[in-house]
Symmetry: C2
Subunit: 367 residues, 2 copies
């Protein structure tokens, strides 16, 4: 087992990463201050892992809320379901909420924990690669509104994160790959050694080898933690974590949510960011080629989806919430594994780059 | 004008108190970082004061949401109305929400500000005495759930509070008195000089004399700020602010919300706390008499309402969220103006005190 400490002053917490952690009472019990525990999970994950987690919580007053599975349930109404369950159980402000599931369960549960009686204890038990590398660090919680994704929420830190690699064994290939997209992202932001490690070890990651997955998760979390510690409330450098995401969100919205997984859209989005950086002369042919290849080796799309026009991309990117005062800011690559947040590029370059990428658009999953 | 600084490190903010402040652009504009401003008000307050406030915001992109008036609208659905208005206006995370109204508007708007895009700027312009003395300090925001009051929310501080005494001229007498209940509370918690000042000046407060109101608001806010600064997240001494509130909440719930105003229930609740303290031998006959008289002079009920039994009181007080681990904790008086949070009293004493009080129960408003 590896343990990483996220350093946020009095909101610091450990992330435990390894196999067989779900049943480890010694890891979770010290972080539960009262007796009341509400486990929030969904209809896919609960049948697989709720019993194992509950066994580690013997002696506590443990209840559970099982949500329907899917991003479409990431709403204020679903958060209210959790409030109702907590109040029906008469849980007080010393209670603890545990999120057992992927990113959607974690985001909803974290916001419920932030808001129930103005804040109760929160523990993350992420069961997907995406949530283990992405949601474990950063404290972003929240839900969608019909007019925008992730528009409602709170910054709220868990007391502990338990990333049990064993839970990835039940994860579909396509969802594993969606998590790999975020792993690649941490290399590309500012960690060339990790990027090189991924080039050498992507087959082991795809084969779900425990050591490879553990290392990839630990390094991703450490890289993210360093960025978050420098900028907890997202004023500056934290925007680097959006590498590939402005293009990616445009793809998700353009296709309709769910057509491509978030990580798939981010995979294509990182290549699109690399293309624009190449168009601007900031990275060379070989760098661009390495980005395209690592994304493909992660079993992710490395081109935009067929059917989206340049006009549609520009329209969707302009409403992205990273736009400040009307000037589009993107995460681009000054060099390979040396990303920056910038609005210093000509719109004409963005348009040329989009033209080039759209000409090579693909269907996904490929036939 | 008086200005009080609430000292909470990097979340410190000023409270300006005085007449004619609503139109003072110089007080409000420095606290608005972007251009987008959403004023949230209600159907009672907006016709009276929205134009005056908007005039001070000339040059900003000012929109407004006008909520229905009443505690029954303090719900998650109403918060969602604000999110919808913000998203329809395409307001980004640099926007500012201004609460123009009483405690309900402030609580709802503060929670919306805490949660919109995980936190935007928030300004309080309280227009009732209750909200000027109570909601201005402490950062408690939130809404009700059908199963409990104030069960959903956040601790979230405003950038500035502007308490314009002129807005109290349109306040009904009964609502002014409800605010006076909280003013009396600050004296009774731990400020004997202020309590003596109230005994000498209650007629001037009731007559809405500007100097008397200004002083009462300033002193109440200062007393509350001192408690909050010592305990921002309500772990310990902050519970003193609940003096009269556990009895008061029982009255509000027992009668059905709205039969007695919150401040009226707190007025009677403070007398009930004094009675129990007297029963325990902690305060003398003269002290109890002074508490009963100051509450009556504040035009507030100083006895519980007719129709509530001892059993009903005990049942309702036991579910109050201040109960930790099943042992009822109350704010009681070790001496006049020397209150403590304690569970060190015999339930038998509480029952005797309730018997005595219920024997003298009253109707309110009195005929």
């Amino acid at each position: 087992m590896k343990t990483l400490n996220v350093d946020l002053g009095d909101r610091s917490y450990p992330i435990h990463i390894g196999a067989g952690l779900l049943g480890r009472a010694d890891l979770i019990r010290p972080h539960i201050p009262g007796r009341q525990v509400m486990v929030v999970s969904n209809t896919t994950v609960a049948p697989l892992y709720l019993d194992r987690l509950s066994a580690a919580l013997d002696g506590f007053d443990v209840r559970s809320v099982i949500l329907p599975d899917g991003e479409q349930y990431k709403t204020l109404d679903t958060v209210n379901l959790i409030f109702t369950a907590l109040l029906e159980a008469r849980f007080n402000r010393t209670c603890t909420l545990i999120a057992l599931g992927g990113g959607v369960v974690g985001d909803i549960t974290g916001f419920a924990a932030a808001s129930y009686q103005r804040g109760v204890h929160f523990i993350q038990v992420p069961t997907t690669l995406l949530s283990q590398v992405d949601s474990s660090v950063g404290g972003k919680t929240g839900v969608n509104h019909p007019l925008g994704k992730n528009m409602i929420g709170a910054f709220y830190q868990p007391r502990v994160v338990i990333a049990d690699i064993d839970t990835l064994n039940t994860l579909p290939d396509r969802e594993l790959a969606a998590g790999v997209a975020e792993v690649i992202k941490y290399g590309l932001i500012n960690d060339p050694d990790f990027f090189a490690w991924l080039e050498a070890n992507m087959d082991a990651v795809n084969a779900r080898e425990v050591d490879a997955l553990s290392f990839a998760i630990e390094r991703s979390c450490a890289d993210k933690a360093a960025v978050v510690a420098a900028d907890e409330r997202e004023g500056g450098v934290r925007a680097l974590l959006n590498l590939g995401h402005t293009f990616g969100h445009a793809i998700e919205t353009g296709l309709g949510y769910g057509a491509w997984l978030h990580g798939e859209a981010v995979g294509a989005g990182m290549v699109m960011a690399a293309h624009l950086s190449h168009e601007l002369g900031w990275i060379g042919d070989d760098d661009l080629d390495r980005v395209e290849r690592i994304v493909a080796r992660g079993k992710l799309p490395n081109r935009p989806p067929r059917g989206m026009s340049k006009a549609r991309f520009l329209e969707l990117m302009a409403v992205d919430k990273k736009v400040l005062d009307g000037r589009l800011r993107l995460v681009l690559m000054r060099g390979l594994c040396d990303s920056v947040v910038t609005n210093e590029f000509a719109v004409a370059a963005l348009e040329r780059s989009l033209d080039g990428q759209i000409a090579e658009a693909i269907d996904w999953p490929s036939a």
